[in-house]
C-alpha cells in the first residue's frame, strides 16, 4: 500500500518498458534496486490495439499484449518484496482478461491472490460505427470511407481514470488505450490529490511522463555517436526513473549500476521527441506548454525539469481508428563490385516489367538501393558504394500481387543481371493502418473494475 500522503512529499516512478518490443531485464534491475514506488509499462504502439482486437475476436481470453505475462513474471517478485505498484497499458484490447491472466500467473508463482484494477471504456468502436460523418484528421475524409474495413477504435483516456483505479488499492492497474504520459501522471494525481485546474502541476507530471515514456531514450539510448557523442557502457543501458514531488518538482535519473547518461543533452532531445508545436502539446489531461522549460544538471545523472505550463484540456478525446489497408509485398537481392548500382537498377526495371506483364498493377511501388538510397532517398551528391542490396516494395489490395513482388525479385538470381546474390524469401504483410477522429468527451465513459480483493 502507498504511504500516507502526509509523509510522502515525493514519489519515484520507474519505467518498465517503452514499447511492445522493449527489453525486459532493465525493468527487473529497477524493481530490485530503484527504490521505486511505481513501475510503469507503456507497451501500446498505434497499431497494437487493432492487432489485439483481432486476437480477442478469435479467443475472448486473449487480446492483451503478447509479452505481458513474461514481463510481469520477471518483475513481480521484486515488486512484491519492495512494495512497488505496477501501472500498465498492456491490457490492450482486453484489460479484464489481462487481469485474470496476471492473477493466475501470480497464483502459479506462489504469490497468492494479487489484486488487479482494470481501466476500460477506451473501446469506442460500437459508438463510432453510428457516427459515419466524423472527419478523419489525417485526410479530411469521413470515417464512413474506412468503416467497412475498421478493425478497432480506441480513445486515448487520461490520468483521471487511472488514478481512480489506483485508489482501489490494487497492486496492479491494467488499462487499454491511455495516453502514454498520462500513465505517469496518474500515480502523482493519486498520491498528491492534484486537482484538474492545477495546470502547472498537471503539466509537470505530464512532462515527466513524456520524458520517461520512451524508456531508455532519455538516459542514453538513441544518442551515441562514436567520437562525437559518447555514452558510457551502452551495452548495460538500463531504464530511467523520475522523482515527482507534491509541489510539481520533477527530476529524471538512472541507476549507477547501469551504463548510459542523463544530462541536459539527452533530456533536451527527448523533451522535443514527437512534439510539434511546443506551446501546445495536447494530452487528455491538459494542453502542455514546454516553451518555458529549463533543464538543470543537479547531480551526476540527475536532471531537474522546471517550468512547464498547462492550459485546460480540450473538450474531445482523440480516437485512433485501425483499419485494413491492403498488403505490402517485398523482395530483396544483393549486388557487389564494379557497376553494382547499375546492375541493381537494371534488376528493378526487369522486375517491374515482369509484374506488369503478369497483369499486376500497384498504387505505389518503391525501389530502394540499400547502402545507397534506402533511408535518405536518392541524391546526386552521394558517391556510388561498392555493393548494394536491391529492395522492391509495393502496396496493393490483391494478396497475389503482393506475393509476386518478392517472387520476381528473388528470381533475378537466374533471370536477371550478372551477380545477383542472396535473394530473400518473399515477404507479404497485411497492412493495419490507423487514422484518427475526435470524439466529444461526454460520449466516452471510462470505467474502473477490480479483480480480487485490494
Amino acid at each position: 500500500m502507498p504511504s500516507p500522503e502526509s509523509s510522502c512529499p515525493s514519489i519515484r516512478i520507474g519505467v518498465g518498458a517503452g514499447t511492445a518490443d522493449d527489453r525486459i531485464y532493465p525493468a527487473v534491475q529497477l524493481a530490485q534496486h530503484g527504490e521505486l514506488d511505481y513501475l510503469v509499462f507503456e507497451c501500446l504502439a498505434e497499431r497494437t490495439v487493432a492487432r489485439e482486437n483481432l486476437a480477442r475476436t478469435k479467443d475472448p481470453e486473449r487480446g492483451y499484449t503478447p509479452r505481458m505475462l513474461e514481463r510481469i513474471e520477471a518483475v513481480l517478485p521484486a515488486c512484491l518484496d519492495n512494495d512497488v505498484r505496477i501501472v500498465t497499458n498492456m491490457g490492450a484490447a482486453n484489460p479484464r482478461a489481462g487481469a485474470r491472466a496476471i492473477r493466475q500467473l501470480a497464483r502459479d508463482m506462489g504469490a497468492g491472490d494479487l489484486s488487479c484494477a482494470t481501466v476500460t471504456g477506451d473501446d469506442v468502436s460500437d459508438l463510432v460505427r453510428t457516427m459515419p460523418a466524423l472527419q478523419l484528421l489525417e485526410t479530411g475524409a469521413p470515417l464512413e470511407s474506412i468503416l467497412p474495413r475498421m478493425a478497432s477504435a480506441n480513445a486515448y483516456l487520461g490520468a483521471d481514470v487511472v488514478a481512480k483505479a489506483l485508489a482501489t488499492g490494487a497492486r496492479i492497474v491494467i488499462t487499454g488505450r491511455v495516453s502514454d504520459p498520462s500513465l505517469f501522471l496518474a500515480p502523482a494525481l493519486h498520491e498528491f490529490g492534484w486537482s484538474y485546474d492545477d495546470w502547472s502541476r498537471l503539466a509537470a507530471g505530464l512532462v515527466a511522463g513524456h520524458l520517461l515514456e520512451c524508456s531508455a531514450q532519455v538516459n542514453g539510448g538513441c544518442f551515441a555517436d562514436p567520437g562525437k557523442k559518447e555514452v558510457r557502457d551502452l551495452a548495460t543501458l538500463g531504464y530511467p526513473f523520475g522523482d515527482i514531488g507534491a509541489d510539481g518538482s520533477v527530476t529524471i535519473g538512472k541507476l549507477d549500476i547501469n551504463g548510459g547518461r542523463v544530462d541536459v543533452a539527452t533530456c533536451s532531445e527527448q523533451l522535443l521527441y514527437e512534439i510539434h508545436d511546443p506551446a501546445s502539446y495536447i494530452t487528455p489531461d491538459c494542453v502542455v506548454d514546454i516553451t518555458g522549460v529549463r533543464l538543470e544538471q543537479v547531480a551526476q545523472d540527475r536532471v531537474a525539469v522546471r517550468g512547464p505550463k498547462g492550459r485546460p484540456r480540450t473538450p474531445t478525446y482523440k480516437v485512433t481508428v485501425g483499419y485494413f489497408d491492403g498488403y505490402i509485398g517485398e523482395g530483396q537481392v544483393s549486388f557487389g563490385g564494379p557497376n553494382a548500382v547499375a546492375r541493381a537498377r537494371l534488376g528493378a526495371e526487369i522486375v517491374e516489367a515482369r509484374l506488369t506483364e503478369r497483369g499486376f498493377t500497384y498504387p505505389e511501388l518503391q525501389v530502394d538501393l540499400i547502402g545507397y538510397s534506402s533511408v535518405h532517398g536518392e541524391h546526386p551528391s552521394r558517391p556510388e558504394p561498392y555493393e548494394v542490396r536491391l529492395r522492391i516494395a509495393a502496396r496493393t489490395d490483391d494478396r497475389r500481387a503482393a506475393e509476386a513482388v518478392g517472387f520476381e525479385t528473388r528470381a533475378l538470381h537466374m533471370h536477371g543481371p550478372a551477380g545477383a546474390g542472396g535473394g530473400s524469401d518473399p515477404i507479404v504483410r497485411e497492412i493495419l493502418a490507423v487514422q484518427s477522429v475526435l470524439l466529444p468527451r461526454e460520449l466516452v465513459s471510462p470505467e474502473v473494475g477490480l479483480e480480487g480483493e485490494a
Binding site: 498505434e46 497499431r47 489525417e138 538513441c222 544518442f223 555517436d225 562525437k228 557523442k229 543533452a265 533536451s268 532531445e269 527527448q270 523533451l271 522535443l272 521527441y273 514527437e274 512534439i275 510539434h276 508545436d277 511546443p278 506551446a279 514546454i290 516553451t291 518555458g292 522549460v293 529549463r294 533543464l295 517550468g307 489497408d325 505490402i328 505505389e364 511501388l365 518503391q366 530502394d368 540499400i370 534506402s374 533511408v375 535518405h376 532517398g377 536518392e378 541524391h379 529492395r391 516494395a393 509495393a394 502496396r395 497492412i431 493495419l432 493502418a433 490507423v434 484518427s436
Partner: protein
Amino acid sequence: MVRVYDLAHCRAGDKGNTSNISVVAYGEAAWRVLCEQLTPERVMDAFGHIAKGPVRRYELPNLRALNFVIENALGGGVTRSLRQDMHGKSLSSLMLTIELPGHNEESGQAGGSPTEDQASSRD
C-alpha cells in the same frame, strides 16, 4: 561553410506522415548561427527529395533548440509506408548533413516565441 553536425545534435520523431526533428545547439555561439541560418527554407531544400512539406520551425531558447516539423515526410506514415525506415528515425542524421555559411555577423536574435515561418516544396 559549417555542417549542422558540428553545431548541434538531433533526434527525429514521427506522428502519422509528419516528422519532427529537434536541433539542439552545442553552445551559445552555435545557437546563434543555427537561429540565423538554419531556416525552414534550407531544411526544405535538404528534405525536398523525400518530403513534400511544408516545414515549420519553432525556437526554444531555454534549451538552445530548434524544432522542425516536416509534413508529408514519411511515405504515408508508419503504418502504410513502403520505406525501410518507416518511422523516419534516421532522418535526424540527414538534418546533420546540412551545410550553413557559418559566420555570424548579426548574431541572430533568439526570440521567445515560436516562429511560424513556412516553406513549401517548389514542385
